[in-house]
């Protein structure tokens, strides 16, 4: 996982609520057994007509936002299916940060595992950013994980909350299994006792 400190990049506005992971990465791309190569399929059904023509008014097809690495979305982003493919697709496309008022729980976890920083700002702050990104050409945001801030260098500044441990893992790019195995001895002890609880055995 690539460590994250600070990123200044073009921001893309996706002004929709309850964007579900079925839209982020439609089911037909869930059959692959690889972890990479999902970027081209990000928001596939919103990007292309059934006959394969680009949908001109969809923001991912707007040349003004080419190269964006920060996505601004509305509330309850990435709800629905647990598919981590949604995080893989966003990351593979180039997004390192998503800003929204709220995120769905499972995606919140999946994003962290893939080095994507999720910045929860207030509804009002997100509305401001959505509007700025639509109206101001080449609208750049700076996201500092260390300071937990989103700024635009033209007066906008907002702070976001993040769990200190999640922040540490994102900043260091740490692998979770390795972290858990620091507790291997505690796990062995717990497990040998827990296995006596026959009523909690699977088989």
């Amino acid at each position: 996982m690539e460590p994250f400190r600070t990123l200044t990049a073009l921001a893309m506005p996706l002004d929709r609520t309850n964007v579900d992971t079925d839209q982020i990465i439609p089911k037909q791309f869930l059959k692959r057994i690889e972890r990479t190569g999902y970027g081209d399929f990000l928001f596939f059904d919103w990007r292309q007509t059934p006959s394969g023509e680009p949908v001109a008014d969809f923001v991912l097809n707007d040349p003004r936002y080419k190269g964006a690495r920060i996505l601004i979305a509305n509330k309850n982003f990435a709800c629905g299916s647990s598919r981590e493919h949604a995080a893989w697709a966003l990351s593979d496309y180039g997004f390192r940060v998503v800003i929204a008022p709220t995120f769905a729980d499972i995606f919140f976890s999946n994003a962290g595992k893939n080095g994507i920083v999720l910045a929860r700002l207030t509804q009002e702050e997100v509305e401001t950013l959505l509007q700025n990104a639509q109206e101001i050409p080449n609208y750049q945001l700076t996201v500092s994980l260390e300071a937990q801030t989103v700024t635009d260098g033209r007066g906008f500044s907002a702070k976001f909350e993040i769990d200190p441990f999640r922040k540490f893992c994102l900043m260091e790019g740490l692998d979770d299994i390795g972290l858990t195995l620091r507790h291997a001895a505690a796990l062995d002890t717990f497990e040998s006792k827990h296995d006596n609880a026959g009523w909690l055995k699977a088989k």
Binding site: R35, K75, S81, E84, A87, S109, K113, H183, G198
Partner: protein, 477 residues
């Protein structure tokens, strides 16, 4: 030990804490991981690359459900090569890592959330995970069960644990008696409609109250299944006599003295009187009706007796925009009575409503009637065992005679990863859990309903109020 009254969730949580490192999430032990073909290949590959093993193959089971075809011919020769590869990959992974697999030809194959309970693998008090958001289904047994991503699947395979932050608790009590024709599906659709698709984000819901206690295990599973559609981390229902009666004698249920010991332990799980929840909501069962979803999010539901809502009447600008977009996608006009909406397809099945009781309910409606000439309807049992039981009871004959397709088990048209999909523009009455854009096939339009309502829509050709329709049918006959 503290003597503070505890919730069901807190009791299960506390029994699974491995360590609580300072400043880090709790490391939670996982009793059972369920694995399927779609969200596991990258996890097993991760283990291989790191030279890791599956820590507890005895706490892991696998099946194929998401992309298996539902016709015999389709299963014998899976023409979609990418699907075939994914299934073959699971087979190899299970063989290499020693995980028990309920394969396509197994008499116990089925949707992962249907087979766990029916094999008696799912048990009260367990922690259960699966790379599938509808893992919340297993909470019906008083287990803490939740969906995870593929990185977490790998983490559990390797360590049998997950770092977790403790969620909040949310008690939803449904009190009173459900009116006739109103089902478990309608309870959960009503709840999602009321609190919204992010109404329980960050929380574990405990469903309680007399209407919940009166539900069968199948009904309880339907309710817990769609907890994720309200944004909840999990849904739980306290185990009771209904739970124990369901589990007794199942293949992996404890036997003899172990059974008595297990029941004694499970009986300690219900929330203590006076236990505190972060949030509570009470719903009067008598006010519930059959619901139909009209939009592209499970929160967009309305009583079947009402009309497609007018976006102009939305309480805020955000909702207005999303309602407009939904109506455009669904090709519906505000003000249209829901019972005038005609359907092209009907899907009865899924981890929400693909169990034996669901099929019985749908068959009661279909018996002696015919599917409308312009409707194509299919019934997909949730598992091989559900299918076998239904056939034993003659339900397959009832469905076939009425003109329904009778299929092999799998997730099928709930998410359209196999050949069962809607064509662009087709409208479907579905007993599944999500009405997202394109969920059942690109351009397809999904309306979520109960099995009874879906069967009735198949016969009538449009939505009907099951409470009065059946009476009218009898009078006409």
């Amino acid at each position: 030990m503290s003597t503070e009254p505890k919730t069901l969730f807190e009791k299960v949580w506390e029994q699974h804490v491995v360590v609580e490192p300072e400043g880090e999430p709790t490391l939670l032990y996982v009793d059972l991981q369920l694995v399927h073909e779609v969200t596991s290949p990258q996890a097993f590959e991760g283990l291989r690359l790191a030279g890791r093993k599956v820590r507890r193959p005895d706490r892991t089971i696998a099946t194929v459900d998401h992309n298996v075809p539902t016709t015999i011919e389709g299963r014998l020769n899976i023409v979609d090569q990418i699907s075939a590869t994914q299934i073959a990959t699971l087979r190899k992974n299970c063989a290499d890592f020693g995980v028990e697999l309920y394969d396509v030809n197994s008499r116990e194959q089925g949707i992962v959330h249907v087979i766990g309970p029916e094999l008696g693998i799912t048990k009260p008090g367990m922690t259960i995970v699966c790379g599938d958001s509808h893992t919340s289904t297993h909470g019906a047994f008083g287990a803490l069960a939740f969906g995870i991503g593929t990185s977490e699947v790998e983490h559990v395979l390797a360590t049998q644990t997950l770092p977790q932050s403790k969620p909040k608790t949310f008690r939803i009590a449904v009190e009173g008696v459900l009116p006739n024709g109103v089902t478990a599906k309608d309870i959960i659709l009503a709840i999602i409609g009321k609190i919204g698709t992010d109404g329980a984000t960050g929380s574990v819901i405990e469903y309680a109250g007399s209407a919940i206690r009166a539900l069968s295990m199948e009904g309880r599973m339907t309710v817990c299944n769609m907890s994720i559609e309200a944004g909840a981390r999990a849904g739980m229902i306290a185990p009771d006599a209904t739970t124990f009666a369901y589990l007794e004698g199942r293949r992996f249920s404890p036997k003899g003295a172990d059974w008595d010991k297990a029941v004694a332990e499970w009986s300690k799980l219900p929330s203590d009187p006076g236990a505190k929840f972060d949030r509570e909501l009470v719903i009067d069962a008598a006010t519930l009706v059959p619901y139909v979803s009209w939009g592209t999010s499970p929160g967009m539901v309305a009583p079947v007796t009402s009309r497609v809502p007018d976006p102009a009447a939305a309480s805020n600008e955000l909702d207005r925009k999303s309602f407009e977009r939904a109506l455009e996608y669904m090709n519906l006009k505000a003000g249209t009575p829901l019972d005038e909406i005609e359907v092209d397809r009907v899907f009865i099945g899924s981890c929400t409503n693909g169990r034996i009781e669901d099929l019985r309910a749908a068959a009661r409606v279909a018996a002696g009637r015919k599917v409308s000439g312009h409707v194509s309807a299919m019934v997909v049992p949730g598992s091989q065992q559900v299918k076998a039981q239904a056939e034993k009871e003659g339900l397959d004959r009832i469905f076939r005679e009425a003109g329904f397709d009778w299929r092999e088990p799998g997730c099928s048209m709930c998410l359209g990863m196999n050949p069962d999909i809607l064509l662009p523009g087709e409208r479907c009455a579905s007993t599944s859990n999500r009405n997202f854009e394109g969920r059942q096939g690109r351009g397809g339009r999904t309306h979520l309903v109960s099995p009874e309502m879906a069967a009735a829509a198949a016969i009538a050709g449009h939505f009907v109020d099951i409470r009065t329709w059946e009476v009218r049918q009898e009078v006409t006959a």
